[in-house]
């Protein structure tokens, strides 16, 4: 160790250049702003959930509804969150020019996302036997927020499908993959929102 900074080799020009942020394409910024406004929408919904919860009677859920059972939602969470892994594989893969990794990653993400949606449908069927959106405000909130998220998962799946078709047609390579990148951003966002929903709507009533 030396105290003289000049005695140690200075960074090379390449090392410096690598730290300069790369200019982002317009599509990247478009997706960032879209996600921002969508995230705000979910924030408004979750804030409404807590507002109504704390304005409501001491019991939550009200009206004799049981606090949500956790095992199935935890499985759903594991499935949805793990689906971000293959998406990273796909995104990183095409950045390095591996079309195979892209196709494999997209397909795996699609299967995991579709499984999540299927399980949510199954969960809805059991829930609807206990309560509906018309039962009381808890039912309204539960189905509106999880349903709205489910719609986002569906949109994400359609995006992935679209990108998959383009991947099979060979539209993407090392230098051309903006749609893969923006789709991945959207998918990670939908996953992150689920974490908030899991904590607020499922774990929250047990606390």
């Amino acid at each position: 160790m030396t105290a003289d900074a000049r005695a140690v080799t200075a960074p090379t020009a390449e090392e410096v250049a690598a730290e300069v942020p790369a200019g982002r394409p317009t599509g990247w910024w478009g997706m960032v702003m879209f996600i921002t406004t969508e995230a705000t929408l979910f924030a408004a919904l979750v804030a409404s959930y807590f507002y109504l919860r704390f304005q409501s009677t001491p019991d939550w859920p009200p009206g004799g509804i049981k606090a949500p059972e956790l095992s199935l939602p935890l499985v759903m969470s594991a499935i949805l969150l793990s689906s971000s892994g293959p998406m990273v594989l796909a995104d990183r893969g095409i950045r390095a020019g591996h079309v195979g990794r892209l196709r494999l990653g997209l397909a795996a993400t699609f299967v995991l996302g579709a499984t999540f949606l299927g399980l949510q449908g199954y969960e809805y069927m059991t829930k609807l036997e206990e309560f509906t959106p018309r039962t009381n405000v808890y039912g309204s909130l539960f189905f509106a927020i999880t349903g709205f998220h489910g719609m986002h998962v569906l949109v994400g799946l359609l995006l992935i499908l679209f990108v998959m078709v383009r991947a099979w047609l060979g539209h993407f390579d090392k230098g051309r993959h903006l749609h893969v990148q923006t789709t991945a951003m959207y998918w990670h966002f939908v996953d992150a929102v689920w974490v908030v929903i899991m904590l607020s709507l499922y774990i929250g009533p047990h606390l």
Partner: protein, 630 residues
């Protein structure tokens, strides 16, 4: 190697759109779209203006029966809703659409097709909401639409449906426009236009767009919940089912107060564009104005409860929001002092645009002063829901937005049409509108303090309100005459106006560096700027002309714009822009079918819109040809 002439011809070919009716539906040119926004918003303004005239006619004398209470409710609701959502924001977005790319030295917006799509959605949503009049079922719960009055129990008919569905539909357009402004400002600035050289009008549009991105979701969530309550028996706002009507108010004003600044900030941006030109000097405190812009947009999210001081909230939250509401006057004050200082330190030219700016300054300061009074909770509770409130927000919104919009009309129309407006008719219009405006709204302060509540369809004689109301009604007609004068002026100038030339005012920003009206590609040569006032730089035009020899600066590839870096506007690469296409219109029509079906309760019809939207979006995102590698 190509010659300058060949490259210019290539620009004309790749940017020109096919003439005729077809391009009416397919254009993606930001100037055509901006013009449409301005015209369409003007029509909505006229409709809302006639609604206001009807209201003032009914209130001219006590005990009149011209308009019954039911129709009166629909008229004042649609007057407010139209003015806020279908006139103010689209009008300012229209000027933004036309002038943001020009002021940035760009050739189009970042997402031209999204831009076209935004216009169509705005048009369809506006038509959908106003179609309610055809059924005699216009929204009737006031523009802020409070539950439980507007809930299924007290308004079982479809009226409020037009409000919730229409605004959800319109929200798509506003959000798309805002994102487009943000990305355009980040990525398409002329080389050299670093953050500290962005024109103040563009800064204002940028701050507004960010406010839209964060504020509009609250309104959308609110309307979606009300729609679910009304149509499908949900209980968000229904106390019997555990819901809470006050939630509507919180979400509405969490959007609604930022929305005041979403309307006023771009208007203040217009003022910041005009003041230096007609003071013949750079703006005093450019840096402070930028900070004030951003600060206003941020603080506007922390003041919404001052609309709810009379609801019965905890003392602590009222104190917090009272303080925040006083704080927001500071950036407002900074802007006022900057403009006044610029005028005092400059050589003032009193042309019509500047007259409207002066009219703005006087009325906006008056509206701001009553605004400070509302920040004081006990005063607010005394005058809430009285005509004093009506006076206040018309001084803020008419004074703060309509005067700048008129200033913009007189300032920028010569660029759009290539013709100058008549100064004489312009002055006449200004004095009619300014005089009529004060005659219309000043007496409302008094009638409000005398206890007259807002939103009553008539009043009894002998309460001391007659004179003030008559004065207001006369003022309304004087204002209408003033607008008529401007309309005549505009139509006259289109045929007889003197040619404006490139730069009729000796302006400072880039829109004056090109012809009037500009060619489809705006600038034959990409301008390079070295200051916040490029046209006042030494020999700017000579340098721009000299650059024509450079292939790089002329950028005559296929429909190309120059992408630059976010902070310093260093050139990154040329990107190809999409050409005219009918896809945005198709997607907007798909949305129209879906929303109209939802409104009417024909869910199968609504479902038909979905494949149209999805198919349209797929066609939209499908590459026109193999995209070039990045």
């Amino acid at each position: 190697m190509t010659t300058v002439a060949e490259r210019t011809q290539r620009l004309d070919e790749s940017w020109g759109e096919a003439p005729g009716l077809g391009s009416w539906f397919t254009t993606v040119d930001h100037k055509k779209i901006g013009r449409r926004y301005i015209w369409t918003a003007s029509v909505f303004f006229a409709m809302a203006g006639f609604e206001a005239l009807a209201l003032r006619t009914q209130l001219a004398r006590p005990d009149q029966t011209l308009i019954g209470p039911g129709a009166y409710n629909q008229l004042f609701t649609m007057h407010g809703t139209t003015m806020i959502f279908l006139f103010a924001t689209p009008m300012l977005f229209g000027f933004g659409n036309y002038f943001v790319p020009l002021m940035l030295g760009a050739r189009d917006m970042a997402f031209p097709r999204l831009n076209a799509f935004g216009y169509w959605v705005f048009l369809f949503a506006g038509l959908l909401m106003n179609a309610s009049f055809l059924f005699g079922q216009a929204p009737n719960g006031g523009w802020f639409n409070y539950v439980p009055l507007t809930g299924p129990q007290y308004t079982p008919k479809v009226n409020i449906g037009f409000y919730t569905v229409g605004l959800l539909f319109l929200g798509i357009s506003t959000t798309a426009g805002a994102i487009n402004f943000i990305v355009t400002t980040f990525k398409l600035r002329a080389p050299g236009m670093s953050l500290n050289r962005i024109p103040l009008f563009v800064w204002a549009i940028l701050a507004t767009a960010f406010a839209v991105v964060f504020a509009l979701p609250a309104l959308n969530a609110d309307n979606a919940m009300l729609l679910l309550d009304r149509k499908f028996g949900f209980h968000f706002f229904d106390p019997a089912g555990g819901g809470d009507p006050v939630l509507w108010q919180h979400l509405f004003w969490l959007f609604g107060h930022p929305d005041v600044y979403i309307i006023v900030l771009p208007a203040l941006g217009i003022v910041s564009a005009i003041v230096p030109v007609f003071s013949r000097r750079p703006m005093v405190g450019y840096f402070w104005l930028v900070l004030a812009n951003v600060a206003t947009a941020v603080i506007s999210f922390g003041v919404w409860v001052h609309h709810m001081f009379a609801v019965g909230l905890p003392q602590l939250s009222m104190s917090f929001f009272s303080a925040a509401s006083l704080v927001i006057t500071i950036p407002g004050g900074i802007q006022i002092f900057s403009w006044v200082a610029t005028m005092l330190r400059g050589r003032l030219v009193l042309a019509t645009p500047m007259l409207f700016v002066l009219g703005f300054l006087i009325s906006f300061v008056a509206g701001g002063l009553t605004g400070v009074m509302f920040a004081v909770v006990p005063f607010d509770q005394q005058v809430t829901d009285s005509y004093f409130v009506v006076a206040h927000f018309h001084y803020v919104l008419f004074g703060g937005a309509v005067f700048p919009i008129l200033a913009a009309l007189y300032y920028w129309m010569p660029k759009i049409t290539g013709r100058l407006l008549s100064e004489r008719l312009g002055r006449l219009s200004f004095w009619l509108i300014f005089g009529g405006f004060n005659l219309l709204f000043f007496p409302m302060h008094v009638s409000g303090l005398l206890g007259m509540p807002r939103r009553v369809y008539t009043f009894l004689p002998g309460l001391g309100w007659e004179g003030w109301n008559l004065a207001s009604s006369v003022g309304a007609y004087v204002v209408a005459l003033g607008f008529l004068a401007s309309l005549v002026n505009l139509l006259w100038s289109l045929r007889r106006g003197e040619p404006a030339g490139d730069d009729p005012w000796g302006g400072d920003s880039l829109e004056w560096a090109t012809s009037s009206p500009p060619p489809p590609y705006n600038f034959a040569t990409v301008p390079v700027v070295h200051s916040a006032y490029p046209l006042w730089e030494d020999r700017f035009r000579e340098r721009l002309d000299a650059a024509r020899g450079s292939e790089e600066r002329q950028l005559a590839g296929d429909h190309e714009v120059l992408r630059t870096s976010e902070l310093d506007a260093e050139p990154e690469r040329a990107i190809e822009m999409p050409s005219e296409t009918v896809v945005p219109l198709v997607v907007a029509l798909g949305f129209l079918v879906a929303f109209a079906g939802l409104l009417a309760g024909w869910y199968l019809v609504a479902a038909l819109g979905v494949p149209v939207v999805l198919g349209g979006l797929a066609a939209w995102a499908w590459p026109r040809r193999q995209e070039p590698a990045r």
